[in-house]
């Protein structure tokens, strides 16, 4: 039975996620950003000197780069950043077992369904609360295989050489203004290493949520797939609804060595006041395959373009994304594929839905370097507009240097039509139900790739979104 036919009514609605525990943080920096704040973060994490230097250098880069003027409206962001706490540490120690996790935090996780997820054998659960991992478990057989699934802090502490060899090699601090900011103040995130030839059957899951008002979250994830390794990493997050602006700017670096295969799945459902500016990129070596599966809901503005740099012959990259822009929201998303080596292939499939005064933009780059003979790339972006006030734009950039490349681009824009609505309503569906069904059908080609519980949650969210969309 298709996933979207199963269980509804699990109560995964946005209001249920709008709860917040009493803040139980132990330490936080002063609001705003300064060299002092960066030094304190590094000191609190007991980092080696090189990391402090890296952070300070990144801070200078951040300060020297102008605010981007493309994409979404960032004009209010600077004022917002002055009020953000750049570091909040919820607990002094990393928790090892579920029993040790304080009750209020446990309560939060229970409402997010983490213990249940464990029961379903969803492998190692790394759960991030505020800025750090507080709960982290890893299947024993994996540990025996040499798999590392740690918080990013522990990765740095426990595997210093492996960490330093790869950290910031995919996304250097100078890549863009927000990568620089993240490099200066990063905190939390995952460190994953899958050794040569190891194939993980069950996905690695990391849940996290931003729990404190005005707190920025700068998670940093580094994933290394050694030769021939295979894994799937799932990250989902929900945020409580708060009234003032919030900010999230993550950096996700993935390295795929020869013949490895990796999928990174994420569904983000931020509260409506969130700026979500993420840089995520994979370097894909010879005959390796990278798949990004990216769902963006909520937030005030999301700017996010998962990327694949195909640097080894025969490398393949897939980017699949769903964006949902509701009233007052702007989803500026898409993907980047860069073909550097011969016989590399890629595809970008993007589906966006805009409702009310929501706006979604597809922004994509397909670049083929000279020397990337026989590169093949296909881009397909489809937009669905729910109301006549909804907006969608497409910004496809295609740059080809090579002489032998095949690049396809297809874009469609559709509106929910009266004929479709009438057809469904004549079978007894209300207008809202009819709209929800059409939207679910529209995103189905990507939603069917999601793990079951995410597909169910996504369907439920779309139903809720359609309430009150008629008129």
């Amino acid at each position: 039975m298709p996933q979207n036919e199963l269980v509804e009514g699990l109560g995964l609605d946005e209001y249920q996620y709008g709860f917040s525990d009493d803040e139980a943080h132990v330490y936080r920096t002063k609001p705003g950003l300064s060299e002092e704040v960066v030094r304190q973060i590094s000191k609190h994490k007991e980092e080696p000197e090189w990391m402090l230097e890296f952070r300070l250098k990144a801070l200078k880069i951040y300060e020297s780069k102008p605010m981007p003027t493309w994409g979404g409206d960032l004009s209010h962001l600077e004022a917002t950043l002055d009020e953000i706490y750049f570091y909040v540490k919820p607990q002094d120690q990393m928790e090892r077992s579920w029993d040790d996790v304080p009750d209020n935090i446990k309560n939060t996780f229970e409402r997010l369904g983490i213990p249940e997820a464990e029961q379903k054998l969803l492998a190692g659960v790394g759960a991030q609360y505020e800025s750090e991992m507080v709960y982290h478990s890893l299947k024993e057989e994996w540990a025996s295989q040499g798999v590392i699934f740690d918080s990013i802090e522990d990765g740095l502490k426990n595997h210093p050489d492996l960490f330093r060899e790869h950290f910031a090699t995919v996304i250097p601090a100078a890549d863009n203004k927000f990568a620089a900011l993240n490099s200066a103040v990063w905190s939390g995130g995952s460190f994953v290493y899958i050794p040569k030839g190891v194939e993980l059957k069950t996905p690695l899951q990391a849940y996290f949520r931003v729990n404190q008002e005005r707190m920025g979250q700068f998670e940093r994830t580094l994933i290394i797939m050694d030769e021939g390794a295979q894994a799937h990493y799932i990250e989902g997050c929900t945020a409580p609804v708060y009234s003032t602006d919030s900010f999230h700017s993550g950096v996700i670096e993935i390295i795929l060595k020869k013949d490895s295969r990796f999928r990174y799945t994420t569904i983000q459902n931020w509260s409506n006041n969130m700026y979500n500016l993420v840089t995520q990129r994979a370097v894909v070596n010879e005959n390796a395959t990278m798949e990004w599966l990216d769902g963006n809901l909520g937030s005030k503005l999301t700017m996010k373009y998962p990327s694949c740099y195909l640097v080894g012959e025969g490398a393949h990259g897939d980017i699949m994304s769903i964006a949902y822009a509701s009233d007052g929201q702007h989803q500026d998303t898409g993907g980047k594929v860069v073909h550097v080596a011969p016989n590399t292939t890629s595809s970008i499939t993007s589906k966006s839905v805009s409702k009310g005064h929501g706006r979604s933009s597809y922004r994509g780059l397909c670049k083929v370097y000279d020397g990337a003979h026989n590169a093949r790339s296909n881009v397909e972006c489809d937009a669905l507009l729910i109301n006549s006030t909804s907006r969608t734009d497409t910004y496809p950039y295609i740059e080809i240097e090579g002489k032998q490349a095949t690049v396809g681009h297809e874009a469609t824009v559709s509106k929910i039509g009266d004929t479709q609505l009438f057809y469904l309503m004549s079978r007894g569906l209300t207008k809202e139900e009819a709209m929800a069904l059409i939207v679910r059908g529209f995103i189905e080609p990507i939603a069917k790739e999601l793990p079951l519980e995410y597909a169910v949650e996504l369907n439920r969210l779309i139903e809720l979104e359609m309430e009150g969309s008629v008129g």
Binding site: P2, Y423, M425, S426, R427, G428, T430, G441
Partner: protein, 267 residues
């Protein structure tokens, strides 16, 4: 108005929404439970418009007249409320809903018929769906295909009858269901419809068609001839047979004469 009727249409006038184009110019039809009525008529006479108006299509606006369905005024209801009251329209041109499987669609439609807190039992639903597909000689994999997306004309029509078989209406409006069907498919569809009537002898049908051939398999109680937005003749099955032989020419001539007379009167 007799409550022995399932549907009573009285002097119904309707026009295209936002345009000054009147299509139905005073239609009167009464249907009793269990009856099969057929409407025949030339292209553009308003047959399909009548079906759409009864189902509540926003393309048309009722300007005057009255429709009573199952003892309740129909015209103020939303299309979904009409469906829940027991009406079903088998579309002439069914709409594509990409990405939504037939099974998912039908389960959602059945769920809409239940109250809050009640859930369609998935296993019962699967059994029912398979049973209904068997009745219409359909492959079980058909249920997993997206609604009408990439279907042939005949598959679309059969899908309409499948929906009808699952939703079990008290009144089915069948809008040129026979067009686009080969003779084998026509027989299967007719068998399906006749089986539904055996299961529920009270189910009434309003069958819109150009041709006599479907009527060889589904026997009408009453045949109406519609020309230029009016029912110009009603009678038994013999009317259809006469039409098949003579065509609509006589009726068109008569209609034109009537219009001329009206013009004379108004002049």
């Amino acid at each position: 108005m007799s409550d022995t009727h399932i549907l009573t249409i009285t002097d119904l006038h309707a026009k295209v929404t936002d345009e000054d184009l009147e299509i139905l110019k005073g239609v009167d039809i009464e249907i009793r439970p269990g009856e099969i009525h057929t409407i025949m008529g030339p292209n553009g006479s308003g047959k399909s418009t009548l079906a759409k108006v009864l189902a509540g299509h926003p393309e048309y606006e009722v300007t005057s007249g009255d429709v009573v369905f199952e003892g309740q005024p129909l015209l103020g209801l939303e299309p979904n409320e009409r469906a829940l009251a027991g009406m079903f329209l088998a579309f002439q041109y069914p709409t594509e809903i990409p990405g939504v499987s037939i099974a998912n669609f039908l389960r959602t439609a059945l769920q809409a018929r239940l109250g809050d807190g009640e859930e369609v039992d998935l296993f019962d639903f699967q059994d029912e769906l398979l049973d209904r597909m068997k009745l219409l000689d359909m492959d079980p994999t058909f249920a997993e295909r997206p609604v009408n997306d990439g279907f042939s004309g005949g598959e679309k029509k059969r899908n309409e009858i499948l929906q009808m078989a699952v939703l079990r209406p008290s009144l089915a409006l069948m809008d040129e269901t026979d067009s686009g069907l080969d003779i084998d498919a026509l027989q299967i569809v007719a068998h399906g419809v006749n089986t539904l009537r055996e299961e529920n002898p009270k189910m009434a049908i309003l069958l819109i068609t150009h041709y006599q051939r479907l009527l060889n398999y589904i026997q009408p109680d009453v045949v109406h001839v519609m020309v230029a937005g009016r029912i110009v003749r009603s009678g038994g099955p013999e009317v259809a047979i006469a039409l098949e032989e003579q065509g609509y020419a006589d009726w068109k001539v008569q209609e034109e004469e009537e219009e001329e007379q009206e013009e004379v009167v108004t002049a």
